[in-house]
Symmetry: C2
Subunit: 681 residues, 2 copies
């Protein structure tokens, strides 16, 4: 049967490519040449995986012999490796496996190998799954959880294991070595004996791919699960409970990675409930996992309902605690100070915490960037953040260098990405959302990688291959890569340009526009008006020295630059400034006209993406072509909705006409608002 | 108070025009100069009206004396008149009134008066109101009926009378002299004594404006209302019943106009139920009204469910009856052979009935042209029909000349328009829909008038005036007139170009696209597929000699011209032909690409209309500006829906790509079809 498909494959012309369902991700089966694998060391699980991958995927000289060698080379860091055309040297078996994946990737994407040394930027490269025990996935747009299932969560089937193995393999192939397998809004029962049985089952499947298992824990678990009267981190009974629970976990999962904690945030319990600090809470857990080599990732995503500027709060709470955390605690900081918006300036915590291990948290799932409907390649967003210069230790103190140990001697380095994975056949809902999983892994491995290279690799692996047409590179790769590279900026343009943020629909789960949304008694910092502050005098959040003074959380020269609307980059203008509608932009436009132009550009960009994709039809299989085309149409409508809604909403305050070179609205504000009341997909 | 408003009016600059609600139609109050009216003849109701209008609206030399003179000039036809700068001569008092309106119109629109003779093209110029006794209006988009009200239909209030008077005045001002005040799908109770009381009340209010009252009657009224066992037109009891009923009506309304009948059509009872012909039915009623000077308008809109080509049926049924109708019967023929589609070729009955009085029926209400949401100026559509050459009596036998008595000696001539009037403040829902009421009256008066002139007059009367800005003509009149003139073709483009027809949504009351609509067991000729016939081989209805042969109902050279796709006008191509998707058009495009281009052009045209209207803002009052702007946005979205739906639907058959210069769809077909299931406004 397999031969028959192979035969079919050979028959198929470029224009009648075999339909693909996307399940294979960037790891589509290859016709492998024979290869001999010579591995040093004991035949461990990881080495067995490496050997199998080579044999399944070898594209080099048939019959070649590939040497996988453990070495003590001091230039090799963590699970890094040294690569030759037929050799991988590494300090760890995981390093050998990563080397094998790199070797195969280079063969498939046509990149040369010349005795390269490749070290990871971060020691720990983790996915955070916001998966609930009932199988739902918070901010998930690709079906139910691959880890949990309602009712039958504790029966592990062979189907489960197959999925987990495929998942682990995909992670390993891009260097991801850890997975937090449940939601940061954690259910306490995840730590119950029966759930831990399933945790062990998962960990056992992930292990051969070098992926460590972590759990998100609810800070009040000692009360809710343990029956204690308190979860006070300084209470001896609480300490003891966590120690016992930790031991129980490690008995089942000896290489358990540790805990991820969202505490004293968005209604979650935490140490502040007992008058303790984040450090008190984190350290208590850190002490519990330390004997087992575990880590605690403590999230800095905190804000209280009544603060005048949510953007300032994490900094205000965590900077005073700098140096007070155990060295196996890593403070996990979202890329921006608010919440994964299409564009935010970097969080001022980066570089400001100088004596604390800090890790960036990115969101792979597209909560604010169009779910799995809109096409958004997120590498440019992450590249932008990682490349941002904090100036905290002089010029060049980029977020990347402030978190990977280059600037501050962190005991541990890590990067986390909120996963976009679910039970959908293609894992991520949108075929192109796979690229974000891929890109996250690649950037966590090498935080200097360029988005263009990542897109190039991913497209070749995911859509290219030996059966591709001769002009595939010029007719498919080049234009579609450009589409990917432009896609995030298009979303910024049609949804929240010029520093606007958090003006999305709440009723439609953050898909589509909602600058008007403000139900009675809703806490202010959950309503868009809190963020856009539009009135007849202008629009934007005044975070300058005359406003909330969030600018002062940034190191000079940024504080001064951001404080002045004439020097503040346009991208962040309304993030930091409340400006009159006729404010003169650098372009010469009024602010209003510039806003209109951005929204319109976003719409036109999506239409351009549609045309690019339509032209790519002959170069891509029918199934994925049709699905992506369908989603691009929905995105196109979404872009128009965003543009029409925001322009008509803000026009109520600006009272200025939409310029004639902007496409006139085809929706009325009243109709959009009425429609906003019903969910839409 | 009135003075105060006048004062405000004087203060207001062009950019802050007084808001108007459209209720005044094209008869907005004028500051009148004093005028002396010298009228011959008895001071009748009509003369009183004429005198009042002159005194309210005189824009000529202050203190001038205007002579209204009855004369026996043989060049004056029907209610025609001879116009001088300060004089009107007519054969009837109605003619004097029409002359006054014309005089005032010329003054307001700045047209010269030079002893002009103006005769009406048609003797009877009627509105047909599809108003039901419960107050609903079939195909009405401007609120409830002005004539009927649920529960309280028989109480006539002063508010009713005011409305009816305003209505009658508007009609008279454009020469409309008859109104059928109930639905052609007639309820039998309209002929009951209690309803006739209200008919009398209405007639009494319409009379001083020269508007005669007519009723639509249900053919089975003798059974349903009279309690007879049959409605057979040859049954003496039936004949007697109608004679009695007619007498009863004329007792109440001595100048009652007559009956309009939809019989043996769309489930309505008729003479065919008794094996009689349309002529038998019509003649029986004609005999009943003849002693009173009444008319019978008998609709030719007939078709049966199982015929292979609905377009042929009216011709097939009525041509054999030519010459068999009484001379006070007029056969009322819709402009096209199907049903008021955005574009149809003229009905082949025009000119083919040579010994029968025939009157055109147009639809003023926008059943198929966007209800009162989309802006459609319909004069170009009617002008197109009236100007169509039937060739029935040689070249120049236009529909206009075949119906106004120029070609055949008709005993009576008439034109009917299905009204778009309701209780909405602005009468017609869309402010621009008023123009269609206006245009119908003007064309019924003069079937050679050009759409551009009508639009020019209407815009000046409706939006212009003495307070208009100096550049109003260039900045408002010229572009908005062009918008109006292009508006119907835009709708054809974005909904049913190239001769496509009847592919609208049924679930949304004929608003929006629905080429897929075909519920199980639905009669075929009510489903769009019956009309578009799209399949992999092509699209369109084959009405050539190899198909239904509807072409042969047209007189040569049209039959030959229509029969050949290379000579058939593009506008009617898919009306007459089923052609392959790659058929080479006159433009050089394939049929598919041409179809795409038309749909796209329609969308772009509406966007252009929006821009024109936005630029017109300083020249129009805020209230009407905002309402029209709002509706144009909805229309813009509707246009995109049409384009996306039809292109994606037909693409399933054409399997050809949408050309790159066409805007890519922003809706998916599945989503549009799902949305089609819920009504939308």
């Amino acid at each position: 049967m397999k031969r028959f498909f192979l035969f079919l494959l050979f028959l198929s012309a470029a224009s009648s490519l075999r339909a693909e369902d996307g399940h294979q991700l960037w790891l589509r089966p290859q016709r492998a040449a024979p290869v001999k694998v010579v591995a040093t060391g004991k035949n461990s699980l990881l080495l067995a995986t490496a050997r199998q991958e080579l044999q399944q995927g070898w594209q080099g000289k048939p019959g070649a012999s590939v040497a996988l060698t453990l070495t003590k080379d001091k230039t090799i860091k963590y699970d890094g490796f040294r690569l030759g055309p037929t050799s991988v040297q590494a300090a760890t078996e995981a390093g050998l496996l990563y080397g094998v994946y790199e070797l195969l990737r280079r063969q498939q994407t046509g990149q040369p190998v010349q005795n390269d040394l490749l070290n990871p930027s971060y020691e720990h490269r983790l996915l955070n799954h916001w998966d609930n025990p009932d199988g739902s996935v918070e901010r998930g747009y690709a079906g139910q959880s691959i880890f949990w299932r309602k009712d039958s969560a504790l029966v592990t089937t062979s189907q489960d294991k197959t999925r987990w193995q495929e998942y682990a393999r995909a992670n390993a192939s891009v260097g991801i070595n850890g997975a937090v397998i449940n939601n940061v809004n954690a259910a306490p029962q995840i730590l119950s004996a029966e759930y831990l049985t399933r945790v062990k089952a998962i960990a056992d499947v992930l292990r051969p791919y070098g992926v460590k298992t972590y759990l998100a824990v609810k800070f009040s678990s000692p009360v809710l699960l343990g029956g204690l009267k308190t979860a006070d981190p300084l209470d001896p009974a609480v300490v003891k409970w966590w120690q016992g629970k930790t031991k129980e976990i490690y008995r089942l999962v000896p290489d358990f990675g540790g805990f991820l904690v969202k505490a004293s945030s968005e209604g979650q319990p935490g140490p502040q409930d007992y008058g303790r600090t984040h450090a008190d809470g984190a350290n208590m857990l850190a002490d519990a996992v330390r004997p087992h080599g575990g880590l605690v990732m403590w999230r800095a995503f905190v804000y209280s309902p009544n603060d005048k500027d949510r953007a300032k709060q994490a900094y205000n709470e965590f900077v005073p605690l700098d140096g007070k955390f155990r060295d196996n605690v890593i403070v996990q900081v979202k890329n921006g100070p608010i919440d994964f918006q299409p564009r935010e300036p970097f969080s001022p915590l980066f570089g400001a915490l100088k004596k604390t291990s800090v890790m960036p948290e990115f969101q792979i799932t597209q909560e604010y960037l169009g779910h799995s409907i809109d096409l958004a390649f997120l590498a440019p967003m992450w590249e932008e953040c990682l490349g941002s210069d904090t100036h905290q230790a002089g010029p060049g103190s980029t977020v990347a260098r402030c978190t990977d140990g280059s600037v501050y001697p962190q005991k541990h380095t890590a990067m986390a990405g909120v996963a976009n994975v679910g039970l959908d056949t293609n894992w991520t809902g949108h075929d192109f959302a796979q690229a974000n999983w891929y890109a996250f892994g690649r950037l966590a491995w090498n935080n200097q990688l360029k988005s263009a290279q990542i897109a190039d690799e991913w497209l070749k692996l995911t859509f290219g291959g030996p059966t591709a047409a001769a002009d595939w590179n010029t007719q498919f790769l080049t234009p579609v890569k450009q589409l990917m590279l432009d896609s995030r900026e298009a979303i910024v343009n049609y949804s929240m340009p010029l520093g606007l943020h958090h003006i999305m629909s709440a009723t439609r789960e953050h898909y589509g526009p909602g600058p008007w949304w403000a139900p009675p008694k809703m806490r202010a910092d959950w309503t868009p008006r809190y963020y856009h502050q539009a009135d007849s005098a202008g629009v934007g959040f005044n975070r300058t020295k005359t406003g909330s003074d969030a600018v002062s959380q940034y190191h000079e020269p940024l504080a001064t630059q951001f404080n002045d609307p004439t020097t503040c980059p346009d991208e962040y203008l309304l993030w930091f400034h409340h400006l009159p509608w006729d404010f003169k932009m650098k372009s010469g436009n009024t602010l209003w006209n510039e806003l209109c132009a951005h929204y319109d550009k976003g719409v036109q960009q999506v239409r351009q993406f549609q045309k690019v994709w339509d032209k790519a039809q002959p170069y891509v299989d029918a199934e994925r072509f049709a699905v992506v085309q369908h989603k691009l149409r929905s995105q196109s409508g979404n872009a128009v909705q965003w543009k029409d809604a925001c322009l008509l909403y803000f026009q109520q305050f600006s009272r200025m006409p939409i310029p004639a070179d902007v496409e006139p609205p085809m929706n009325n504000l009243d109709a959009i608002i009425a429609n906003d009341m019903r969910p839409r997909r």
